[in-house]
Amino acid sequence: MALLEVKNLEKRFGGLKAISDLSFSVPEKMVFSIIGPNGAGKTTLFNLLTNIYTPSSGSIFFKGQEITNLPPFKIARLGISRTFQNLQVFLNMNVIENVMVGCHLRSKSGLIASALRLPSVIAEEKNVKQMAFEALEFCGLSDYADRPAGGLPYGILKKLEVARSLASKPELLLMDEPAAGLNDTETAELCQLIKRICDSGITVLLVEHNMSLVMEISQTVLVLNYGKLLAEGTPEEIQRNPEVIAAYLGEG
């Protein structure tokens, strides 16, 4: 059974169809990439999957359960996490705290218990810090743990978003243009990171413009154009597909 299944998804903004009649399914434990020219509806698709936008019609299933109209925090509870194209780091916190927020679902102290700082809270706090630190290490950010997120360079913040998502131990990670704005070295590091994420058993759904990165790490590539599915296949198939080439070269 597929991990994520999208059926006849559609999103209209006024008269404009940002996504129309889109169906696809993402199997477990792979890197599944979505590409397409600017304005093809890639980020809109991510916002629909996480219900930041409500779909106009169609349905979305995660592990066989319908999630189409669940609020984002419930979707997160089922095991989906994501990063954002325009960073959504908590700039009012430091790096480790950002990642500790990612551990929200793996801990449970409430407001009153926290105010009283019950022994259970102290124990959990230690545990959460440990988990957060592991996620930071995984992403190579342990040196930055106590730095305020506010003043850090863009590349670090991008990794921080990944670390934060990983801290929630998702089964499916949506990454929205992780390589945008990164230099070649950083992109190479990112490539390794995504591979390691996938190796650890997490399915990665990737929206990306950097073709060499996509072709290198993806098992399946889906091409969107004007909100419609243009093609789906292995990187090799996609690179040979004349329709895809035409869409990218702006023909037709």
Binding site: T50, I52, P71, P72, F73, A76, R77, S81, R82, F84, Q88, V89, F90, L91, N92, M93, E97, M100, V101, G102, C103, H104, L105, S107, K108, S109, G110, L111, A113, S114, A115, L116, R117, V121, E124, E125, V128, R164, S165, S168
Partner: protein
């Protein structure tokens, strides 16, 4: 306990002061006002500073606590502690019911809604004179006693209010450093990202709104007993604004910032009294100048300066 060293120092100073200066006007009289204001500022900071939700109506919950105690003890002869509890229960219910629709709003709209709440409650205090005594208020509350000991002097009140104040500060510090506090900061930083981390943002906001209202309500009950008198004036729109000013003056999001802000704003009238009619003008000017030139607040700005200085010295010694 490095985490609480600042708190322990602060608590020690507060508890020693009345022993050294038992008859000092500023300690045992102004001190009581300062404590009430600190409790209110700290509770408001939970909502405004931690969760980033502005409230221009915090005085309403303070007032509802005070009036509940006054009305229930005097008109219905209820035990003062039971009256305080009943007031708190009422405020918790009211704030819970209002929290969802109010906290759905953001920015100016949230400011408007909380302001409206504060003004409506204030008008109710003035107009419902059968119940509230109208503009004249209610006086003659019974003496509060604790474990058989009547709290009937300024010094005794000092220790009661000081304990509750310290407890509020401690709660606030504890929350900052916890899963609940991080969830609030996350809501402040990016609501969408907070949701994606599995945080039920509506619930988190609603809980802190209720918690903060509860703290204010209990402060109100204590205030009513300590003053032996309640009147609408103490709970006006202007007082809500003053509370916001305290929080912002010290530094949004910092517990000790709220403490310092409350302290400064409470002694300001005492200092400005020599200027008489200039008081309002100077108050407004201070508010503007701080916000324009030190938007992060006095305490936070100072803390950052010290931290930068220490970091610089460390760099230098390497």
């Amino acid at each position: 306990m490095k985490r609480l060293s600042g708190f322990i120092l602060f608590a020690t100073i507060c508890l020693i002061l009345p022993i050294i200066f038992p008859d000092n006007y500023y300690v045992t009289v102004v001190g009581l006002t300062i404590f009430i204001n600190i409790i209110l500022a700290v509770s408001l900071n939970l909502l405004m500073g931690y969760a980033g939700q502005i409230s221009l109506g915090h005085a309403a919950f303070f007032g509802l606590g005070a009036y509940s105690s006054a009305i229930l003890t005097i008109k219905y002869g209820l035990n003062p502690w039971l009256a305080m509890l009943a007031g708190a229960a009422f405020v918790v219910t009211l704030s819970y019911v209002l929290s969802r629709p109010i906290l759905k709003l953001k920015g100016h709209y949230l400011a408007m809604a909380t302001l409206g709440l504060g003004i409506i409650v204030h008008i109710f205090f003035v107009q419902a004179d059968e119940l509230t005594g109208g503009p004249d208020g209610i006086s003659g509350l019974p003496t509060l006693s604790f474990l058989g000991l009547a709290i009937d002097s300024d010094v005794k009140w000092y220790f009661v209010l000081c304990s509750y104040m310290l407890l509020s500060v401690l709660f606030s510090l504890n929350i900052a450093d916890s899963r609940a506090g991080r969830a609030l900061s996350a809501v402040h930083g990016s609501e969408i990202a907070a949701q994606m981390m599995g945080i039920n943002t509506a619930k988190v906001k609603s809980h802190i709104f209720v918690f903060s209202a509860l703290m204010a309500s209990i402060a109100g009950s204590l205030f009513a007993h300590q003053q032996d008198f309640v009147s609408p004036e103490s709970f006006s729109f202007f007082f809500s604004i003053e509370l916001v000013t305290m929080v912002v003056l010290g530094g949004l999001g910092s517990t000790f910032g709220a403490v310092i802000g409350a302290f400064i704003l409470s002694i300001l009238p005492e200092v400005l009294i020599v200027f008489e009619d200039f008081e309002v003008l100077i108050f407004g000017a201070i508010l503007m100048v701080i916000m324009i030139f030190l938007p992060e607040g006095l305490f936070v700005a100072l803390k950052n300066k010290v931290a930068a200085f220490l970091a610089g010295r460390q760099e230098g010694s390497k």
